[in-house]
Amino acid sequence: MTTEYFLPKAALQSLIDCLHGDGFTVVGPTVEQSAIIYDEIESVDALPRGWTDRQEAAKYRLERRDDDSLFGFVVGPHSWKKYLFPPLTTLSSAQQSESGWQMQTPEADARKLAFLGVRACELAAIGIQDRVFTGGPYVDPVYNARRKNAFIIAVNCTQSASTCFCRSMNTGPRCSSGFDLALTELPDGFVIEVGSDAGTELLGRLATESVTAEQLEAAEQARQQAIDQQTKQLNTDSIRDLLLGNLDHPRWAEVGAICLGCTNCTMVCPTCFCSSVEDVADLSGENVERQRHWDSCFNLSFSYMSHGTARNTIAHRYRQWLTHKLASWHDQFDSSGCVGCGRCITWCPVGIDLTEEVATIRGNEAFCDLGTENEE
């Protein structure tokens, strides 16, 4: 049984200050361009106090809450992968010298990042990317350096968006592991759980109070609200065999005709890890960097080979994304690649909902209204 404490709201700044004092860059949610994104924050004043997000397929709006909640929203377009798996990184460099080309690795990234406000689905996503980048025969040095230094302060969701389906994916909404500290927000403070020795050590420096039975009950009720509000479901029964056994299903062509191939779903997905490495040279051509940038299986060039492109149509590429995310990911990394955060549904400009695609392929038309909308 974990020990819980109470942190008054006024003491949250001291948590940020302690992390700064320990050399951490603190990253948390903040409002920018009408969305709640993740950015470096200096104080609690940067948090989205009194804001919430309203989400549905192809729709995201910020709205004012009638209280001063700091974490009274769900998830936005950003995920923590932009810090652990940076969108643009230099992997190596090459210099031409008299004795020929010499290759070098860049200085190790020693930056210590503290993530404030990591949701349960995002903890699961970080766990999945841990397996992708550090669990195989080759460890990505960039991810590994940032990950092993990261301090994670989770926040339990107290509401669900219409796009959330973490319960179907068994990833939330309750934060159960993978954090140093976990908060549940109440009107006057946070019920706080410890998940690691580093969390215990930090907590010892904060002005915590012993938690009351009423506070524990209020926190439980707040968390229950997220469960009760969640309506979207994805039936994952035998989903690997369902999808890989239906590679010629007519639905792929139908969704391919709607999908724009814009890559939004893969950019906002907290587990998508596809990338490309390209050379960037100076004007002399004698100093070259190998730069990695996020890429997407929706880009035509992604499956380019000298004798042709493997996945020529958007239908092929949508099928690749969905079958990888929900099916072959199980073969590769012993879990689904989906955590049920719903970002790909919200940020799809045409509102494609992967849960509806799966339901259609499963033959459960009750979940599918996308197809009927698009019939002439």
């Binding site: 090459a94 080759y138 460890v139 490495v277 000298s306 020529n312 990888h324």
Partner: protein, 286 residues
């Protein structure tokens, strides 16, 4: 501190070793074999590979290309890559002269199951430049010929001028390799077989199909037909191996490009058992 490519082992999978072109052998139109040496002797002394594995050849300022190793794994003096001009990297490589340096990461990927072929007949089925990733397997099989049964190479090309390594065929035959060639179109006085490679397998007498292993590299449709022929002749599907090709960008299973269903071709392949990918080989656009 930053580190350089000096010193072993190379713990950073993104860091390339420096190699120098020691010699170039022109093979056929647009195809040459580059004989490479590591500039760092410590790397040269410890680098080893298995037949079927590939390296990432890195031309700074241009990019990388995945190229299978085509030399004898028992010989460490030189590392050979037979390369067809197909894109920017290979075109740049073709313009380099002997003595030029560039980068190399590797070796990567799975290998032909040579040890598992002991006491069995082995049939190698390939076409065109597909012989390049199989040449190290041929060398190793011939180096250890007494450990195996009958060794056969079925090799095809569009026309006779597209057949690689023909200058070595006599030596390979003298060491026990039964070689059958075919071309799609007969030209230039060709008097041999005309037709696609799987037809050679259809006609090949088999001593003991249950104990025969097939190693196949070529276009996916050719590998599918070869496997179908092999299975039709009574060769078990778990003894049929194919070498897959996909866009390989990182070579270490981190970039996602080379996926073929559950398979990361770069780290789970390129050599895979046919029955592991059979369901996907004929799926269009997969």
């Amino acid at each position: 501190m930053s580190s350089t490519s000096t010193g072993l082992p190379n713990l950073d999978p993104w860091l390339a070793y420096t190699v120098r072109i020691a010699a170039v052998t022109h093979e056929i139109d647009d195809v040459s074999t580059y004989h490479l040496k590591f500039t760092d002797q410590a790397v040269a002394d410890t680098f080893s590979f298995q037949p079927g594995q590939f390296n990432m050849l890195y031309l700074p300022g241009v990019g990388e290309a995945a190229i299978s190793i085509s030399s004898d794994p028992a010989k460490h003096a030189m590392l050979d890559h037979t390369v067809r001009i197909a894109g920017n990297v290979t075109r740049t490589l073709a313009n380099l002269e002997v003595g030029a340096t560039f980068g190399l990461r590797g070796p990567f990927g799975s290998a032909w199951p040579v040890d598992a072929c002991c006491d069995r007949d082995v049939i190698i089925v390939t076409g065109g430049i597909g012989l390049a990733p199989l040449r190290p397997a041929i060398y190793e099989l011939l180096n250890r010929a007494s450990e195996f049964g009958q060794l056969t190479l079925l090799y095809g090309a569009r026309e006779s001028a597209g057949l690689l390594y023909t200058g070595e065929f006599d030596e390979w035959r003298s060491r026990g390799l039964d070689i059958h060639t075919t071309v799609d179109r007969a030209s230039g006085g060709w008097t041999g077989n005309v037709g696609v490679v799987p037809q050679l397998l259809d006609r090949l007498p088999l001593n003991d199909p249950q104990n025969t292993t097939v190693l196949c590299c070529g276009p996916e449709v050719m590998m599918w037909y070869t496997a179908r022929s092999a299975l039709g002749r009574g060769i078990p599907q778990e003894r049929v191996y194919v070498s897959l090709e996909r866009n390989m960008n990182c070579a270490i299973g981190l970039c996602g490009h080379c996926q073929f269903g559950p398979t990361f071709v770069c780290k789970d392949g390129p050599v895979v058992r046919y029955d592991c990918v059979a369901d996907f080989l004929r799926v269009e656009g997969f």
